[in-house]
Subunit: 342 residues, 2 copies
């Protein structure tokens, strides 16, 4: 009973107060003053619950990501928020913690109208059944945009914003090849993650193009975590002959790998080169500063959110991926292999 109260005090109808709130230009100056004063004196704030209900919109968007506290997502989230604030959306964050969630979990959120749309920053195969065949909801899919992740065939019906992971990974690998490396290890993410699979593919492709073989044991899964990467690095270092360079599917894993390399008494890059992916803020203060592939994170976030907004507003945003530019950042963790290796 609140807009009523304001209306009563202002001596106008509830409709006028509502109009004052939503289209002030349709209210006469004089009336506007009265309403304004009534609102001020009562400290009235529209009940968002009622408003959402009436409008059929929550102005909420769910962002699904593997893990907050991952420095990489800081920039992406910042971009998302910038647009969200401007467009009046609030962001609900769900962590997958690397678990393969049911797609239903997320679409349910939309179908039960808890959110207007979903941004998937981590699509570790979120689909159990084809989303299109969901019982009951018919053909109306919730607005979804995928950020960062590579889109697998099953996800190709959704738009995405990302770098060309395969090309970027190939570029990184080529950088090592050019320095003279021939045995290059690869610490992959989770196999369930399409993104790291693409990076692995880029690595394989670059190796092939250089006419270099890729031994099976050169590719180890680092599970996207510090500890996983450390175990993976230990495996690679135990190889004989061991790789002269290691390409890590992201910077977090590169940090873990570098630690193990140091512990093994090896020097970076003199004994072994390391290259990462993402260019998180720690990359440049590592010892030595990490060569890596930078992604325009804020841009990804902004474009992803903007595209989602358009989809929510009913616009047709297509299903094509939007590819944003990556950039190889050469620092000091990569160099030519030891002399006796050439």
């Amino acid at each position: 009973m609140s807009i009523k109260e304001v209306a009563r005090i202002a001596g106008v109808s509830t409709a006028t107060v509502s109009r004052y709130l939503n289209s002030p230009e349709h209210v006469r100056e004089k009336t506007r003053k009265k309403v304004q004063e009534a609102i001020r004196s009562t400290g009235y704030a529209p009940n968002t619950l009622a408003r959402n209900f009436r409008r059929g919109k929550t102005s909420l968007v769910v962002v699904v990501l593997p893990s907050v506290g991952d420095p990489f997502f800081e920039g992406v989230m910042r971009g998302i928020w910038r647009v969200a604030d401007a467009e009046g959306y609030s962001i609900l964050i769900r962590e997958t913690q690397f678990n393969t969630h049911e797609f239903d979990d997320y679409s349910e959120i939309v179908f039960s109208k808890q959110a207007d749309g979903i941004i998937l920053l981590a699509s570790t195969s979120p689909f159990t059944s084809g989303p299109a065949e969901r019982a009951g909801h018919g053909d109306r899919l919730p607005p979804i945009v995928i950020g960062c992740e590579t889109v697998a065939p099953q996800l190709s019906q959704f738009p995405s914003v990302r770098v060309d992971n395969a090309a970027a990974a190939a570029e990184a690998t080529a950088h090592l090849v050019q320095l003279g490396h021939r045995r290059i290890g690869f610490i992959a993410g989770l196999q369930a993650s399409l993104l790291t699979r693409d990076r692995e593919q880029g690595y394989r492709q670059a190796m092939a193009e250089a006419g270099l073989p890729v031994a099976d044991e050169w590719i180890v899964e680092g599970r996207q975590t510090l500890d996983g990467a450390r175990a993976a690095a230990r495996q690679l270092l135990a190889l004989s002959p061991r790789p002269t360079a290691i390409f890590c599917a992201n910077d977090e894993m590169a940090m873990g790998a570098m630690h193990e390399i140091r512990r093994a008494g090896l020097r970076i890059p003199q004994d072994i080169s390391v290259i990462g992916f993402d260019d998180i803020r720690y990359a440049e203060i590592l010892d030595p500063p990490l060569t890596t592939v930078a992604q325009p994170t804020e841009e990804i976030g902004e474009h992803t959110m903007r595209r989602l907004c358009r989809a929510i507003d009913g616009g047709d945003i297509g299903a094509e991926p939007e590819i944003v530019p990556h950039r190889l950042v050469v620092r000091e963790s990569t160099a030519a292999p030891p002399a006796d290796e050439s």
Copy 2:
């Protein structure tokens, strides 16, 4: 027109469908079956907007923190989510980006019923005017619980969950003193942050207790960022004589400081010791592994959220801070000062 639809198909009233949803035990087995079938066949999902509206609850909680992508908050958020999931709440995250926001921004969220409560993980003086004097809302303050941050007098009306920052900082400082350090620098966070002020106070207290003087230039503001800490470290290293140890108000800043120390050609801990605060996941893989103060982050998150839930449910949770235990983790970044310094 959806619960109606289900009711029509099941051949019962809307009230019965509603009851089936909310208190099935009050529905006869036979009726239950009918409703269940109708729901299944229609793929009906209750409209959360309408439900929230009716119940006057959003089941949303806002968490305010300085920055996602900060590894420290990963654990805290995890604890919060664990409880939130169990209690049926979703989490809305707002970043302060170290800006001093108006308290109104946040309380507005509650007063306009966009959320049921607020968790403040970063209270850089969020109050412009005393919250109690807010016009309109009278004396009814929104449910708020503060996590991690130290409570300043103006915030003492709110409950909090945190470690004893002053005591922990004193302990860390004492550790350096015991190793033989006499000139200990301190890289502080933002002066606006109560938390880092408390840590500074603990540092000062420990120095005083050891009978050691604290030169003004030994305390430098690191602005809670990598870059800020780097600048601060450069300042400290330029001092003559320079400190033989540096206490950083958090691990993030310690990372920045360590980088600058290396760049200056100094060895840790042989030439200079470094100690941090938080024990983020990178602490143990730094070079050398960082001595720091560990906080039970998940526990903080869980307790904070649990307390907020009780407050939302109308329980009286008091205003006393709940102090959780910290733990000094000694690794390899601290050692006795160079021989000629004793």
